[in-house]
Symmetry: C2
Subunit: 261 residues, 2 copies
């Protein structure tokens, strides 16, 4: 099978135009078939403030009410996505910006109301990804650039977690490609010592994950991230990479952390 790289960048990369510039230069230079998934960043928050829409929180969780949905659709699918696409095009990377509604590429289910009503938030399942259409876009030499807006197939746009979108795409595309999923953020990988940026664990095998947790090497917010990454590997993704946005092209030089079976 042909290789396919799915790269996720977080809001912190998008918020800094210089970081974004260098990241997109690297992403353009990345060889082979590839897909970019981007998060939101401060733009949506700033836009909400300038429009007088306050972020709505319930029990510390952000709620996507109808006003917030409008704002994230404008900010993620409009402003951020199209500026990323225009920047990639200027670097001869044939980007095409998408939400999950476009080509029915990501169909989500509105999160059911249990104790908290999250509003217009979409959850994904194993049938969410439109593999056939994404494959056709890749075969047309296009580079899909997804923001994390999805739809329910019944006219409703939904806000979805960008990490989840990236992982779901990587898993689903594993049916036709050898997929690598790369999470690029502000850390240089999984650290043995959170105080020491040079203490990167360069590789974690699935069977080592539990012992690293027991040793306390992996803790806090990194646990669910790694758990999800290994779930993706169990579901067919060949390799997951976690590293800094400015080291995208150095993944083969032992930078960052590789998660393997």
């Amino acid at each position: 099978m042909k290789p396919l790289t799915i790269v996720k960048i977080g809001g912190n990369v998008i918020d800094n135009s210089e970081n974004l510039h260098y990241f997109l230069e690297d992403f353009s230079a990345l060889a082979g078939d590839k897909i970019l998934v981007h998060g939101g960043g401060k733009v949506a928050t700033d836009l909400g403030i300038s429009m007088g829409v306050e972020a709505k929180m319930v029990d510390g969780r952000r709620i996507t009410d109808i006003h917030t949905l409008r704002i994230v659709t404008m900010a993620y699918a409009g402003l951020i996505n199209k500026n990323i696409v225009a920047q990639l095009q200027a670097r001869s990377c044939n980007a095409i910006g998408l939400t999950g509604a476009d080509g029915n590429t990501i169909k989500a289910v509105k999160r059911p109301v249990k104790t908290i009503d999250y509003g217009f938030v979409g959850d994904l399942d194993e049938n969410s990804i439109g593999v056939g259409t994404i494959n056709k876009l890749l075969e047309a030499d296009l580079v899909p650039v997804f923001c994390a807006i999805t739809h329910d197939g019944d006219t409703q746009l939904l806000n979805t977690n960008a990490d989840t979108v990236a992982s779901a795409i990587a898993v689903a595309m594993s049916a036709v490609y050898d997929t690598t999923l790369m999470y690029c953020f502000e850390k240089r990988g999984v650290l043995r010592d959170v105080e020491d940026d040079n203490s990167i664990v360069s590789e974690i095998r699935m069977d080592e994950f539990e012992s690293l947790q027991a040793e306390g090497v992996v803790s806090g917010g990194m646990i669910p991230k790694l758990h999800n990454a290994f779930e993706a590997i169990k579901s067919g993704v060949k390799e997951v990479y976690i590293g800094h946005a400015d080291e995208l092209l150095k993944a083969s030089e032992n930078k960052g952390t590789r998660l393997i079976k």
Copy 2:
């Protein structure tokens, strides 16, 4: 050659959610390969007001300054485009929303500053349209839905007139398709008597256009519209239709005005 229909809807259709609903139902039912181009509508103006950005006018012409560009990118490429796509998807029309940056489908040139600096406005020429990529999307059974945001190929997004976008796409796609260009708006076609909605001129041949102008049948704002339509026909478009958004499927029943060679 296969037939291809390019439909343009104006802001007035978009502003009324009920009109838009019915129009999109009809557009979904339109047979064969098709492309939708949509204008802006009041959403951008309302968004500007809520963000405290005033519409900037010079000599009665709207200027796209950097703030306005951000707003139209959010409103047209984000909110309007993605909601149209989600509505079409719900009607089993496999829509994919695009700006001209996406897949480099429409490359424009920033309008040179002469007496007026229009700001971030993009003009099109005969090489603007990415026929190859649009063709690949159509062959993948996708229905491109364009908003009138383009790019210059050098990272800059640009605001472009939606009528011009529709016409340029129709002309360029004529190289590979038998194209029909349909302008759908709030009038029922070209009227002999502007006071009488039933006085529709059902057909105008290119050689009749001048005499109809001389007779005063065609006047005012209709003249540049018809002039552009006949320019498109001269450049390869098979037929241009001008009619009401709620009569899209009735074009074959002698509704609206057909312009032919």
